[in-house]
């Protein structure tokens, strides 16, 4: 029974999904109720997770296939809260496009369930199940605006490429199973040694699959198209939530079974990290669509998060977690701004649509400027600290090349963030946008901007929360 108690959040979430699905089928016009209920479900799940599992040091369940520890609890709570915010600010957008349907919150909840299973997994099979559950829901979400050809294209593209990467990932799993005789992370860890090089093949295949999910270069090609084609609210979800789960799996997978093989995978991770940082920074310069630009910037940011993981130390891994949390906060603000750029039921997403925003909407422009400077990593905003912790842990491992390339690519990246600020502040103004935004949208923008702005006054709190993660 105690075992069940620990997976109660997942059980509650799956039961709620089924209930909401049935409710949606039998009750007409219930999209609003289901939206609200989903929000409640997310919050309740977060509370249950907090109550049941945060205090637990480390427990393995179900024949050691699931692990509950501080890392998983924290990441689950982050996932749930981020999803809550995504869901709550996207309703107006969905209404405008007349896609405010019952499936939307239910699909999001299912993908969150998949992510929670991924985060919990201590076994390759469990991990793959979670991954597929979240991916399947995401494919449908990408095509959610069925009437738009771009959205369908995005979904199809995502589906095909993702299926390919899942195939590679499975192939890697089977290799590892073949050489160690188990899919359990701890058993694999004990079986290493004799067939080290063979296992490396397995690791490489799995890393390819994971890199695809987290959109690290050179497996990033899908990201710009999918981010551009999907409805903005879904793009918001894409940029924030799946990255948390994927990062957790990255950490768990590399640190639990394969920490002894660090010589084998460290180079791969450094390459992924450097390639993502540089490519994300350089490719974003030429973009004219804000959503594509965000896609490239998110590729870059994933590179920084992976730099922390590449160190192979507790501090490095913690700095990655801090990075991803701050990144989520900044993206939330950025997309809140995007969702506010609406005029007569049409959303604007070209960068020249930002032109002269500071004259027409000074507060919106100010918030966006703060968020952009933070994304560029300029002190004293939160984004600087995220990068600072990562590079601190990287330099502590004497990986100077990674640190210097990373910091130089922040300079390149600063260019395109500055360009957006330039368009907002230095260019001529255009027509005004609507100002009748929902209360939650305003709240999320204010909330994220203020947190980014005042983070430097209380930097220790987040570190204290994250520093309890200890999996080595």
């Amino acid at each position: 029974m105690t075992n069940l108690q620990l997976v109660f959040p997942e059980i509650f979430l799956s039961l709620s999904i089924m209930f909401l699905l049935i409710l949606g089928v039998f009750k007409k016009n219930s999209s609003k109720i289901i939206q609200n209920l989903s929000l409640v479900v997310l919050l309740v799940t977060a509370v249950i997770t907090f109550n049941e599992t945060v205090g637990i040091k480390e427990v393995k369940l179900f024949n050691n296939s699931i692990i509950i520890d501080y890392l998983s609890s924290l990441m689950k709570i982050v996932t749930l809260l981020a999803t809550f915010l995504v869901l709550i600010i996207s309703s107006n957008y969905l209404r405008t496009f007349k896609i405010f349907k019952i499936e939307y919150p239910i699909l999001i909840l299912s993908s969150v369930l998949g992510m929670m299973i991924m985060i919990n997994s201590n076994d390759l099979i469990v991990f793959y199940m979670g991954l597929e559950l979240q991916s399947l829901a995401l494919y449908v979400l990408a095509t959610f605006n069925r009437d738009q050809i771009k959205s369908s294209e995005a979904g199809l593209k995502y589906f095909v490429l993702s299926a390919l990467s899942s195939g590679l990932l499975l192939y890697g799993c089977s290799l590892i199973y073949g050489f160690t005789g188990s899919t359990n992370f701890n058993v694999i860890a004990n079986q290493l040694g004799s067939s080290e090089y063979a296992i490396t093949f397995g690791i490489v295949f799995i890393l390819v699959g994971l890199a695809f999910k987290i959109s690290a270069v050179p497996f990033h090609m899908w990201a710009p198209d999918v981010y551009e084609g999907s409805p903005t609210s879904v793009t918001l979800f894409f940029t924030m939530v799946p990255k948390v789960a994927a990062l957790t799996v990255f950490i768990r997978f590399l640190y639990v079974p394969f920490l002894n093989l660090i010589d084998q995978w460290q180079m791969i991770l450094i390459f992924l990290s450097i390639a993502s940082m540089l490519f994300g920074a350089i490719a974003a310069i030429g973009q004219t669509n804000l959503k594509r630009l965000v896609a490239y910037s998110s590729i870059g940011h994933v590179g920084y998060a992976l730099a922390g993981v590449a160190t192979g130390t507790n501090e490095g891994m913690q700095s990655s977690v801090i990075y991803i949390i701050i990144y989520i906060l900044m993206n939330l603000g950025l997309f809140s701004c995007l969702l506010m750029m609406k005029r007569e039921n049409q959303y604007y997403e070209k960068i020249e649509d930002l032109s002269g925003l500071s004259k027409n909407h000074p507060m919106l422009a100010l918030s966006l400027m703060i968020i952009l400077f933070s994304l560029a990593g300029i002190p004293p905003l939160a984004g600087f600290f995220a990068k600072f912790y990562v590079f601190k842990s990287v330099i502590e491992q004497s990986m100077y090349f990674l640190a210097i390339v990373g910091l130089l690519s922040t300079v390149v990246a600063a260019f395109y963030y500055l360009r957006l600020i330039k368009i907002m502040y230095f260019d001529k103004e255009k027509e005004k946008y609507d100002t009748d935004h929902g209360l939650w949208l305003k709240f999320s923008l204010t909330f994220s901007t203020l947190l980014i702005l005042v983070y430097f006054i209380f930097p220790s709190q987040l570190i204290e929360v994250v520093s309890r993660i200890n999996i080595i």
Binding site: P380, F391, I395, L407, I421, F426
Partner: protein, 494 residues
């Protein structure tokens, strides 16, 4: 000292900016807005004067030190002043109110936003000069980019976007390497506290690379040849108040950084790289002086002269002589006053004629005599005429240089002559000569606020020219102690 005077100095302008933030809006408010900003910065100035009075000149210890835990087991918020930094704080708090006074004519729109940017900038600049922790220093050093970028970009001239980007990216590129160095220092010694680092020392074998990383940041900011090219662009395009802030204070951050960190933390490396600094400084002095000679734009000319003057500063710092470093600091203070005044002088005629080209002017001495007198004073101060503060600085620097390296000193002295040439020629072409352009006849002489600004800059320029003792007394002990530690470290190889 229980009253946190340094933190108040840092915070007060931000508080003022916060007030302005809530009084934004229509043109009617402009008057109120300006006086709120002026009041804030003036109170800050008085506070810094009070700080100077309380300051104990007989010790080289850091005074008014405040320390608070910021990131647990990692970084403390630590501020304090010694003889080296206190003068820069005074300079900052003195220049900012004058900047705010000068916005009358030059800033036509978004006045409250402009003043918010200036006040926040002041906070960051004071923060740079009194932080005693490398990370805190970096934080303030970099954060200043944001308001300055906006000042150039929003209120600047025709090519403002290009200049703002160039300024931002150049400086950022220089600084990221410093961040790597700071983290490395933490990793090597386990602390980023400057006072602790002074007593711990850093191993010689690491010093060279660390020194270069800091140098990359300071060289861009100083700016030293060949990375000075952002400065003329930024100066020319920035609004008058922005140019003043840039020239008077921002450039001094790097000079201060050289003294505080390059000399203080890496003596062995400083010794190794002194020839490099000498070469770059001498090139800056001679080369940019010649460039200045050929400029047709007044602001650009003064910008290039700033590069040359900063060349003297870096030269003086790395002589590691009492006179040299003292001279550098006085030169920086004096350049802060004089270049600010020169930019304001250009601003005065620009506001009337909307041209910065030297050709536009000529023969205006009889039309605006008051202006011509003050402009002459600052021109002479810029070329280092005895009796102005510019002389004291240059003289001490050259004296230090002659002690250390004869050849360098001789070449640098030639720079003084070229300096005199371009400044006097500028003055001649603008003020004297025949009055050809008839539009000039409509020019009005200095109005009240302009007179106040220029006079209040003229007074310290002359006063410290004749009587530099207050400045020298303040810095003397700290510098002799710095040099002593430097030589001791060098001898004992830590």
């Amino acid at each position: 000292m229980n009253f946190p005077i340094l933190s108040s100095l840092i915070l007060l302008p931000t508080v003022g900016a916060f007030f302005l933030f809530f009084t934004r809006g229509n043109k009617k408010n402009n008057f109120t807005v300006k006086y709120v900003a002026l009041f804030t910065s003036f109170v800050n100035f008085l506070l810094s004067i009070y700080l100077w009075i309380l300051f104990d000149q007989t010790t080289s210890e850091f005074q008014f030190v405040e320390q608070r835990i910021w990131i647990k087991d990692f970084i403390n918020y630590k501020v304090g002043v010694d003889g080296i930094s206190i003068l820069f704080i005074l300079l900052t708090t003195f220049i900012t109110p004058l900047c705010i006074l000068s916005v009358n004519n030059s800033i036509k729109e978004r006045l409250s936003e402009f003043l918010i940017a200036v006040l926040i900038m002041e906070s960051f600049m004071i923060g740079v000069f009194c932080s005693l922790d490398l990370v805190i220093f970096y934080l303030f050093f970099e954060a200043g980019l944001i308001p300055m970028f906006l000042i150039i970009g929003i209120w600047g001239g025709a090519r403002r976007v290009y200049s703002a980007f160039k300024f931002f990216l150049y400086t950022l590129l220089g600084s990221v390497l410093m961040l790597v160095a700071i983290i490395t220092i933490y990793w090597l010694t386990g602390t980023t506290d400057v006072i602790e680092l002074y007593s711990l020392g850093i191993e010689t074998k690491y010093q060279n690379l660390l020194w270069l990383a800091f140098f990359s940041s300071f060289a861009v900011k100083t700016p030293m040849w060949p990375v000075h090219t952002w400065l003329p662009d930024a100066h020319v395009e920035a609004p008058t108040a922005g140019s003043v802030l840039l020239a008077a204070i921002l450039l001094k951050m790097a000079g201060y950084g050289f003294i505080r960190f390059s000399l203080g933390l890496f003596p062995a490396a400083s010794e190794v790289f002194t020839p490099l600094i000498y070469t770059l400084s001498v090139i800056a002095i001679i080369f940019t002086s010649f460039i200045a000679l050929m400029q047709e734009d007044m602001k650009k000319l003064i910008a290039y002269s700033s590069v040359a003057h900063m060349g003297y500063v870096t030269l003086g710092i790395f002589t590691i002589q009492q006179q040299g470093i003292e001279g550098s600091i006085i030169q920086m203070i004096s350049h802060g006053l004089v270049s600010a005044a020169l930019f304001l002088c250009v601003g005065v005629v620009y506001d009337r004629m909307h041209s910065r080209l030297i050709d536009t002017y000529g023969g205006i001495v009889s039309i605006i005599p008051k202006y011509s007198v003050l402009f002459m004073l600052f021109t002479l101060a810029a070329l280092g005429l005895p009796g102005t503060s510019g002389f004291v600085g240059e003289f001490l620097i050259l004296m230090g240089a002659f002690k250390d390296n004869f050849l360098v000193a001789v070449i640098a002295s030639i720079g003084v002559i070229i300096g005199a040439a371009y400044m006097l020629w500028l003055y001649k072409r603008v003020i004297f000569g025949k009055l050809i352009n008839n539009d000039l006849k409509k020019m009005i002489d200095l109005n009240r606020s302009e007179s106040i600004i220029l006079t209040s800059l003229a007074i310290p320029t002359l006063f410290f020219g004749f009587y530099p003792d207050p400045l020298i007394n303040t810095i003397e002990v700290s510098i002799s102690d710095l040099i002593e530690t430097y030589n001791f470290r060098l001898a004992s190889k830590i």
